[in-house]
Amino acid sequence: MAARAGRRVPAALLIPAGLGLLFLVLPLAGLLIRAPWTTLPQRLAEPGVLTALRLSLVTATLATALCLVLGVPLAWLLARVEFRGRRLVRALVTVPLVLPPVVGGVALLLVFGRRGLVGEWLDSAFGVTLPFTTAGVVLAEAFVAMPFLVIAVEGALRGADTRYEEAAATLGAGRWTTFTHVTLPLVAPGVAAGAVLCWARALGEFGATITFAGNFPGRTQTMPLAVYLALETDLQAAIVLSLILLAVSVTILAALRDKWITSP
């Protein structure tokens, strides 16, 4: 720890800081210590594990893509356009962040369920049903994860120098071209950071997913759901699944961190 020469770190800060770190790291260490390392290869080869893992990766990635398509423009609107009720919109965007995910799942059911406000219309008009499908998983994950992206991108947009956009305007670029050719490249690290956060949140999503999409292996049973289910029958399996989730998250975060998340 780089304390400046002659300046001691007060114990009143150091001790809780150390305890905090321990509190964050110890459960992960426990997971590693209790892992059934000897039977790990066989357990990994079980078909259910791979299915759940693939479903998790696919849905988290799709949810992130959905969040990017909808969330980046929303962040731009919040950061660049002055309109009445902007504060209210910003507050609404952050609601899923504080809402218990289960409540989010119930709310999604009420809107997109077969009898829901939008769901009924989707069903009658297009024959599309969302609850208890893989698409439903994507929807539930996107609902919970989008605020992370919007907040990160909005922050990046606010921090970006708007004078570059003015320079683009004097060179003949309209607002859309300026957005795609100047603004987006400038905030790319912020968008990437937001996307990673969003993806990680989507990957770990549990409450909204199980409420809205259920727990069907191969269709809606993502890794967190598989962990929960395994916990009731086979603790060792739950540990293995958790370990995989942990490894995937850490690997991807570490890989992206060097490339994107550190400022250029």
Binding site: D161, R163, E166, A169, T170, G172, A173, P185, A188
Partner: protein, 345 residues
């Protein structure tokens, strides 16, 4: 006139109210102290700042309602604002591309402009790999590549160190002379204005206080700011014949003869300092107190308090002879032949 503009911008307690007219091929410098509203005027012309009142007409076409992207203008910003994610070539090609030129043709045109500013070997460099002087030239090429009817430059040399500035200024002068459209240069540096511009418009507090060619402005400043810029002592008073009476009753004698409100100006080098009251010749003399002494080129600049505040330039030898020190009282003398008086009306 190519550009005819009346720019009125109200912003908080500040009001900009400036009329500008610039011919094609003419370079006008908007010169003024910080906070005078120069940049606001430039932003208003570019469409980045809305006008509260007034108009902008460029080549006979009203522009003040047009959004910035559709104005036939080019801007060189103070920090250049080169897009950091694009190469020098793509920065310059950005404007032509937005004006409907194809990708290939735009890059070709950009390469031509980079060549004209002497950067043909730097097309693939990113802005952060360019020196300040190079970035300035890319910014100029980028602004000129859209072939603007009006070129705007905001303190184009302010971000450069002294050495680079000298070279870049000379080069900028050449490019501005070749630009067929109107050019407005915003600066607080009188040297930039004098070297680069055909005509100077001086703004203080959002208003034009003086305009004209460099010779007129340097010979007959009309405000303290301008006088300081061109290095003259300037006083305002009431003239009767050769005598100008200042507000507090102090009188100065000039060779010019006029009546009514008048300015009197003389350079610091015209002020001589004496240990005792000099006699003889028809001089303006008065006792003064030394407020400060600074180096000024090869000479010393002495700030004098007294009935009037004066700057005097004297040689180090003279200073040593007089044993000058702050607080000391000396006699200041200015020959009437070295002062100029002109109407203030």
């Amino acid at each position: 006139m190519s550009l005819d503009a009346h720019l009125v911008v109200d912003r908080g307690g500040f009001r900009l109210d400036v009329r500008l007219a610039i011919d094609n091929g003419e370079v006008v410098a908007l010169l003024g102290p910080n906070g005078a509203g120069k940049t606001t005027a430039l932003r208003a012309l570019a469409g980045l700042q809305e006008l509260s009142a007034g108009h902008i007409t460029l080549g006979g076409e009203a522009l003040h309602q047009t959004p910035p992207e559709r104005r036939p203008i080019g801007v060189v910003f103070q920090d250049y604002l080169l897009f950091p994610h694009l190469s020098a070539l793509d920065n310059v090609a950005f404007g032509p591309r937005r004006h409907g030129v194809g990708r290939h043709a735009a890059r070709e045109r950009a390469a031509g402009w980079l060549d004209r500013v002497g950067l043909s070997g730097y097309t693939n460099r990113k802005p952060r790999q360019l020196s300040g002087g190079q970035a300035q030239r890319v910014a100029l090429a980028r602004a000129l590549a859209v072939e603007p009817a009006l070129l705007l430059l905001d303190e184009p040399l302010a971000a450069l160190d002294a050495r680079t500035r000298l070279d870049t200024r000379t080069e900028l002068h050449r490019h501005l002379a070749e630009h067929p459209g109107a050019t407005l240069l915003v600066t607080h540096d009188p040297l930039d204005a004098l070297v680069l511009a055909d005509r100077l418009v001086i703004v203080e507090d959002g208003r034009v206080v003086q305009e004209g060619d460099a010779a007129t402005i340097t010979a007959q400043p009309r405000t303290d700011y301008v006088a300081r810029l061109v290095g003259l002592n300037l006083y305002r008073g009431h003239a009767t014949g050769h005598t100008v009476t200042l507000r507090d009753g102090f009188t100065l004698t000039a060779t010019d003869r006029l009546d009514g409100d008048a300015f009197v100006a003389f350079p610091p080098s015209a002020v001589a300092l004496h240990p005792h009251q000099p006699d003889g010749s028809p001089r303006n003399t008065w006792p003064a107190t030394i407020a400060g002494i600074q180096r000024h080129g090869d000479n010393l600049r002495v700030q004098l308090d007294g009935p009037i505040v004066v700057a005097a330039d004297i040689t180090p030898a003279a200073a040593a002879h007089l044993h000058l020190a702050p607080g000391q009282t000396v006699w200041a003398a200015v020959k009437a032949t070295e002062t100029r008086a002109y109407p203030a009306g």
